[in-house]
């Protein structure tokens, strides 16, 4: 019991680590399932980074659409990122974090486009922003912003 109390910070660390691992994995799996489902649903909205709309004779309505999301890391990911950065090279634990954020933001932008009746978004641009203390590797979360111009057939 004494050993436990004297090493309380270690015990806390281990507890957070395990919670981070299990809860984090579960959250991530759920999120990815949701992402995949919505990607299938919104596959009808096409996105391109081309700057000009396709040449067409029908009149088009344009409007800016955007989607953004902030995803946070879990404790396990943070610790693992620290270990990776000790050796340098790719920090593989953050890759899934960024991937989720990107796909989620794109889906939100597509959903925004769909509400306008658009079938295509052009000039898509991404913006990443890392939130959180710039202390020794303490990342709180990653914000991803995706925006573009939605083209919908003109009304009237």
């Amino acid at each position: 019991m004494d050993a436990l109390l004297s090493n309380l910070d270690l015990v806390l660390f281990a507890a957070l680590f395990m919670v981070g691992y299990f809860a984090g994995r579960w959250n991530e799996r759920r999120h990815y399932d949701s992402i995949r489902g919505r990607e299938r649903e919104l596959a009808g909205v096409l996105i391109f980074t081309s700057r000009f709309p396709p040449p067409t004779t029908t009149r088009l309505d344009t409007g800016m659409v955007s989607g953004s999301v902030v995803i946070s890391e879990d404790f396990f990911k943070g610790v693992l990122a620290g270990l990776y950065s000790f050796f340098g090279g790719r920090i593989r634990s953050y890759e899934s974090l960024l991937d989720r954020a990107r796909r989620e933001a794109v889906l939100r932008m597509k959903a925004d486009a769909r509400t306008r009746g658009a079938r295509m978004v052009v000039n898509v641009k991404f913006q990443t922003f890392a939130i959180g203390g710039r202390g020794q590797g303490s990342l709180k979360g990653v914000e991803m912003l995706v925006y573009g111009t939605a083209l919908s057939p003109a009304r009237g």
Partner: protein, 104 residues
Amino acid sequence: MLLSNLEIVPGRRVAKHLGLVQGSTVRAKHVGKDFFAGLKNIVGGELKAYTELLQESRAEAVERMVKQAEATGANAVLNIRFATSSITQGAAEILAYGTAVTLE
């Protein structure tokens, strides 16, 4: 695989536009180099270690984007753009994205 940040490729026609492809990496320098970069903050000058880091990251991001483009069956990527951000102290994320196309 032709890479360009132009809208068009002069003299060639685009047969199919295949949509957005992206490549991203998060990289860091190892502790030793990080430590020396910290020391460089005192005297100033180019942080060679970080320049290298970002160059490697960009190259890798572009490579991953090209791999995605190949998976769609494209032979060129146009309108390429980069987005950089610093994730944690000493680590940088680079995102490269563009439109995969098939040129005639």
